[in-house]
Each structure stands twice: as structure tokens, then as C-alpha cells.
């Protein structure tokens, strides 16, 4: 793991992987959209609006996946003081927040035709809403602390605390949902998904993951260069001061 701790070596790795990542993304996207959205079967109950499933469900998957990725990177950063893991976590947060927001918007756009209202306190949607707040909190803490190094460790602790609480929040929201459950509500991902829908859905899931890696690389490189500019300025200031006072 420390082999890639060196920023320049990691950058070369990213350059090698990037074409493959983009390739997978485009291929999966093409298959998912064509086989699912355009030519896929309509749902017996919901009719055409089930096509939103192909972007709503993968977005919700990514929202959860990225938060767990941030927690894993934060754990590595805290235990082994790995600077790149920290940069990966920090670069991932905005991507996760966007996916969470998209999951919420597509969820409500899907809810409208199915239940006639834009927002329904369905257990899963509510959990995604709370997850969105966790993302906002994580990013807000990065902004609030000036000292870069301390901010890294404080946000890592927050991410771990957040992750540990997610199952509890999820359980409490589902428990709360069944408590106030209106009559039979059509579950968001419909009845069991038959294969003709499943494969395009998985393809879209993979496409979103590849998209995440691709954008993550770009944002990480931006953060790494920002660190280098900062370090260069620091050294220039020190050098101008003749090494020290």
C-alpha cells in the first residue's frame, strides 16, 4: 500500500487506468441505456415510469458505496497516516453528495406518477435524505478547519462515526416507516426484478462506478496539485527568509 503513497507514482497509475475506466463506463452506459431504458420492457404495474429505475437505483447504490469508500479511506488515513487515502476521501465526498441528490430527485420524479406526490416519506428515500445530510456535514467540516493536516484527521473521525451510525439510522427510519406505513405502498424497486431488467440495471450500476473512479481521479489530481502549489509557496517563503529567521 505504501508503494502508491508516492504521489507521482500514483499519478502514473491513474494515467494507465484512466482509458480503461472511461472505456468500461461508456460500454456499460451504452448497453444499460439501450437494453434497459430504450428497449427494455415496461413494468406491468407502473408502466413506462419504471424506466427511471435504471438511473434511480444505481444513484442510490453509489450514494451508499461512496460513503463507505470514504469511511474506508478515512480508516486507512487515520491508522497509517496515508496522505493519498485522505485526498481520495476528500475528493469522493462531492461525488457522493451529487449521487445522493440525484437519487433523491429521481426518487421523487418516480414517486409522482406512482403515488401522485413528489415527496413520500418512504423508508429508503428518507434514509438517502439523512445520508445527504451526512455528506454535507463531512464537507462542511473540511471547509471549517484551516489546518489542512488536522482537518484530515478530524474529518476521518467524523466519517467513521457517521458510518457506524448509518445502520442505526437506517434501522430507525425503516422502523419508523413501518410504524407510520400508509396502506400498501408500491416499493420503489418494484416487485422482484426479472432478468430482462436486471442486466441493464447492473450494467448501469457498473457504469456509475466507472464514472465515479474517472471523476475521482480528476478531483484527486486537482487536490494533489493544490497541495504541491501550497508546498512550493511555503518553501519559497521559507527560502526567501533564508531558511529560517
Amino acid at each position: 500500500m505504501h508503494y502508491f503513497a508516492n504521489p507521482t507514482r500514483f499519478q502514473r497509475l491513474m494515467d494507465i487506468l484512466r482509458p480503461w475506466v472511461v472505456g468500461v463506463m461508456l460500454a456499460m452506459l451504452a448497453y444499460g441505456l439501450l437494453a434497459g431504458t430504450v428497449f427494455g420492457p415496461a413494468d406491468r404495474l407502473q408502466g413506462e415510469s419504471v424506466r427511471i429505475l435504471y438511473i434511480h437505483v444505481p444513484s442510490a447504490w453509489m450514494a451508499m458505496f461512496i460513503y463507505v469508500a470514504i469511511a474506508a479511506a478515512s480508516f486507512v488515513a487515520l491508522v497509517w497516516r496515508h496522505p493519498l487515502a485522505l485526498i481520495a476521501a476528500r475528493a469522493s465526498a462531492p461525488i457522493g453528495a451529487v449521487f445522493t441528490l440525484l437519487a433523491l430527485i429521481t426518487g421523487s420524479l418516480w414517486g409522482k406518477p406512482t403515488w401522485g406526490t413528489f415527496w413520500v416519506w418512504d423508508g429508503r428515500l428518507t434514509s438517502v435524505l439523512v445520508l445527504f445530510f451526512l455528506y454535507l456535514g463531512y464537507m462542511a467540516l473540511w471547509q471549517a478547519l484551516e489546518d489542512e493536516e488536522k482537518a484530515g484527521r478530524a474529518t476521518s473521525i467524523l466519517a467513521l462515526v457517521g458510518t457506524v451510525n448509518i445502520p442505526i439510522i437506517k434501522f430507525s427510519v425503516d422502523w419508523w416507516n413501518t410504524l407510520h406505513q400508509p396502506a400498501s405502498v408500491v416499493r420503489l424497486d418494484g416487485p422482484t426484478i426479472d432478468p430482462s431488467m436486471l442486466w441493464p440495471l447492473l450494467a448501469m450500476g457498473l457504469a456509475f462506478k466507472a464514472y465515479y473512479v474517472w471523476v475521482l481521479f480528476a478531483r484527486m489530481e486537482a487536490l494533489m496539485d493544490a497541495r504541491r502549489v501550497q508546498a512550493a509557496q511555503l518553501r519559497a517563503a521559507q527560502h526567501a527568509a533564508g531558511g529560517a529567521l
Partner: protein, 215 residues
């Protein structure tokens, strides 16, 4: 009491000090001489195990063998560490229980207060103390903490002439009783072995080439 082996101190991305090594035995005192901003306060916090070292090692020992900083260190830095809304008596009672683990007798408290000339202010809140009185109150905490290793960061600041003389005698008494002192001061200090930290500041070359491990 304390051994430092090629210790390096880092603040964020900036490497402040490298290669600091010395040992401190009972009764001895070391004066870390350095201008402000070089990192002497950070070095003291590292010795107090509040700040991890960037490299090298800091080892505490007491009579029975290896020890923790929290067992034997008393730290005096620019912050008073006193609750402004509490009386000096309340502050010192709590702090001596917290630091030395035993409740000070009333007589003991009064003796320390007299020693430092704070008796008249003993029951008034620390908020109304002048800077000099506040610094003397911090010295009272130092005496009551019953700790063997004193880490003093610019202890003379805020003390008048009489206060400085008092501090010197307290240090001498502490050393005679088998304690040790590690002190930072930009000026000169009588009969202490001096370590000039300016020699330990890494020279910095501007960043020109590939940054390799560094940023």
C-alpha cells in the same frame, strides 16, 4: 528522567526541527535557546506527549523504569490553564487533585499562596487578576502538581523582577529535591546547560524538480 533521540518536529507540512538529542537526569536542567517561531513550544508539547514526533523518539523514565509523560510532567505554557470564573482556591484545589491525585490540605494551599504573594487574592475569581498575578497563580499550580519533570515555555514572560527571582529559587529548590527542568527562553539563563535549537532547523531548498516522496 528523559531522553530524546534525534527528534524531529513537524507542524502541518512544515518540518520545524530535526536531530534534537539530549538526556535529562534528576536534578539537571536544560535551557532550549531559540528565537520565536522556531518550534520550541512544539518541542515541549512533544515531550509532554501531546504532539506526536515526526521522527526520532522521546522516552520518559522514573525511579521504577519507563514511565508516561502524564505521570511526571508539569507543563507551563502561555495559556494559564485556570478557570476565570472560579476563585484561585477553587482552581488550585481542583487542579492539584487532578494533577497530583490527592486533595491539598488548607494549610498547604495557604502556604503556597503566601509563598507567591497571592494570599490576599486567594478567594477572588482569577478573572480579576493582573497578568503578573495570573502568572504567579500558574506557578502555584506548578508547585501543587507534585510533578518531577517541569516543562517551562518562556516562564519569565509576564513576571516582574521579583517574580523572576522567585521562579529561579523555585527551580533551584525543585532541582535540589531531585526534580528536573526543561525550559525554553530566547534570552540567557543562569547555570543551565544550553542547547541552541537554531542548529536544528532544516535548511530548505526551493522546489525545482520532481517531488518524489515530498509534495
Amino acid at each position: 528522567m528523559l531522553t530524546l533521540d534525534s527528534v524531529a518536529i513537524r507542524r502541518g507540512d512544515k518540518l520545524l526541527l530535526t536531530g534534537v538529542s539530549f538526556a535529562l537526569r534528576a536534578g539537571e536542567a536544560v535551557h532550549l535557546k531559540a528565537a520565536n517561531g522556531v518550534g520550541k513550544s512544539s518541542l515541549l508539547r512533544a515531550v509532554a506527549e501531546l504532539l506526536p514526533v515526526a521522527a526520532g523518539s522521546i522516552a520518559h523514565q522514573n525511579a521504577h523504569g519507563p514511565a508516561e509523560a502524564a505521570d511526571q510532567v508539569a507543563l507551563l505554557d502561555e495559556q494559564p490553564g485556570l478557570k476565570a470564573s472560579e476563585s484561585l482556591r477553587g482552581n488550585l484545589t481542583s487542579l492539584s487533585i487532578l494533577l497530583s491525585g490527592r486533595t491539598p490540605g488548607a494549610g498547604e494551599l495557604d502556604a503556597v499562596a503566601d509563598r507567591l504573594g497571592l494570599a490576599p487574592l486567594f478567594d477572588s475569581p482569577v478573572r480579576y487578576f493582573s497578568t503578573g498575578q495570573r502568572r504567579r497563580a500558574v506557578l502555584a499550580r506548578l508547585l501543587l502538581s507534585a510533578r518531577t519533570l517541569w516543562l517551562l515555555d518562556e516562564p519569565y514572560t509576564g513576571l516582574d523582577q521579583a517574580g523572576r527571582a522567585l521562579l529561579d529559587t523555585l527551580i533551584a529548590e525543585h532541582r535540589n529535591a531531585g526534580g528536573a527542568v526543561l525550559m525554553t527562553h530566547h534570552g540567557d539563563v543562569p547555570d543551565m546547560s544550553v542547547i541552541d535549537l537554531m542548529g536544528h532547523v532544516p535548511q530548505v531548498a526551493p522546489d525545482t524538480g520532481d517531488d518524489g516522496e515530498r509534495w
